[in-house]
Symmetry: C2
Subunit: 363 residues, 2 copies
Amino acid sequence: MFAVLIEMAVNPQNFQPQDVQQTVSEIGEQELLRRVQQFCPAAVVGDDAAVLTVTPGRSLVVTEDVLVDGVHFSSGFAQPVVTTSAADVGWRAAAANLSDLAAMGAFPLGITVGLGLPGAVPVAWVEALYTGMSACLNTFNTPIVGGDICRSPILTVAIAAFGEVLPNQAIRRSTAQVGDAILVTGLHGASRAGLELLLHPERGEGLQERDRLFFIRAHQRPNPRLDVVPILQKVVAASRYNASQERYPIAGMDSSDGLADAVLQICRASGVGARLERHQLPIPPAFATWLSPQQSVDWVLYGGEDFELVLCLPLELANQLAASVPGAAIVGTITADLAVILGDRTGTVPDQVLTLEKGFQHF
Amino acid sequence: MFAVLIEMAVNPQNFQPQDVQQTVSEIGEQELLRRVQQFCPAAVVGDDAAVLTVTPGRSLVVTEDVLVDGVHFSSGFAQPVVTTSAADVGWRAAAANLSDLAAMGAFPLGITVGLGLPGAVPVAWVEALYTGMSACLNTFNTPIVGGDICRSPILTVAIAAFGEVLPNQAIRRSTAQVGDAILVTGLHGASRAGLELLLHPERGEGLQERDRLFFIRAHQRPNPRLDVVPILQKVVAASRYNASQERYPIAGMDSSDGLADAVLQICRASGVGARLERHQLPIPPAFATWLSPQQSVDWVLYGGEDFELVLCLPLELANQLAASVPGAAIVGTITADLAVILGDRTGTVPDQVLTLEKGFQHF
């Protein structure tokens, strides 16, 4: 029944009720493994672990994320409101991990998927999850190389992602320098807006349909910015910073927990502060017809799940990057005092000190 | 001081309310991260992902396991019966993943830990979990290089482990050859016996205290057989099989889901069968004073969680390995017919066909 919702989210024409009612406990572990292994390259299936090749001279980059039903998504098993179809859960889980690799300046090698499943989960839900993950991963030629499936009272998706990076090109949070420009690779607040529209379809009534779909898509199908990584490397390679091997000139992280969180984390790790300029914030233009200025700024800074990169780098590199990456914008500067300030050079709004208080706290 | 607190989870007499009552939601995510990061090398803390070095020329080996409260362990939050302290949960989770690496013939590089935590979990429980993981990992110089902590209605531990192996020395399930000897690296059934004694302390009354403790320890603190990997490689390097680079002469996997399961999985992957000899089964000697012969055989074959290696290799190599690894034993032979048979050369018990039916099924 609930799986109807999933299938419809993916493609209503393909709905096949006889398949959809079958549950995980009905087909059993071996058959379930066989089904999900169809999403993995044949060469990696069937051993205790997967074997991958890291390009000689590159370092391995690893990251892990855990997503829990009712916390990070709602499957409809635990909650009456379904904001995320199984395919979207899969896409987002893969995207979040690929985004962590992009945030390190790394190229992906593969992911493993650990699933905790209640026995009553429809097999179609699991297959749709893998379909969504694969759709995202295929964009970046990244295979699912293994994983684990076990019983759990709550649907849980644990993904580990592996990538590689030249040791001297890893992007750290801790190397931002006073005077660096702060650049974001795209708009913020769009995912938060999409969630609002999914939860309350009656809101945003002034929005054009195109904008509404844009926000919903930003929430359901975020794009990890792996496309930015080679551009970054090219910009650095062509610059005078290429010569200095002692320090990669770019610090940063992704904005999965919000733009303000990213800037605060970078500043804390680097022992610096920042000044963001209110009029340079990457606010989606359609917010103007829907939200108050303060609400817009709140969603941009604290909405979260935009999966853009927040980078600190010398202004000349930032300008080149902004010219090469559509939607990228310089939003502020790294400063010597330890606070993160949202300023307004027009003097209309008083300076504001940003804190993690409004950000997403997991407990 | 801290280890005392761990014990408290097992022993209510040691209860110290002031420290122990502090919960995960009381200290919040940032402080919790700070606490668990103390178990990680300083160099890897604080970025979106960890950066590791893979030895040039080696392949990366990755594996993931998910453990769920009430399914793989019982924390005492969800169940009245505590068979596994937090430190033991941590040890076992780390051991299971290191065992997967050993089963691939790989050496460990690091693990990441994804935790899903109810807000009411005591911080001391989480710290004890990390203490147990670290205790196991430190034995093998393996760092915790990162992870993720999130809220979840059910305590969940997802571990990804990374190792490295020379590409031509990876141990696969699919390369067992007819005529290979089947060797196990140690006793089986001990973990199952330990679980029985924890759940029903009144049982096993004929057992000596030493044996009782041995079984309980086998359940709570299993040893991944990474120690066997260099011995294997040495035995192969000194043999005539060294010359043949087209095929590594050893197939295998670990026995985490039981000895019978391991043999059946290898046979299925390799397209072969096996004959195990009842009198060569690695039965703990103390079973004789406690269990019926049939019960002993059942626990040895289907008990699970022994985390030994089950290897298929030419008899001459198996003999050398058996001579080099205390407790290792040859238990049977790979055959051309597709069944896995438990035989009895004395003719006392009729031949028996083994199936996965009795093994651990996750759904």
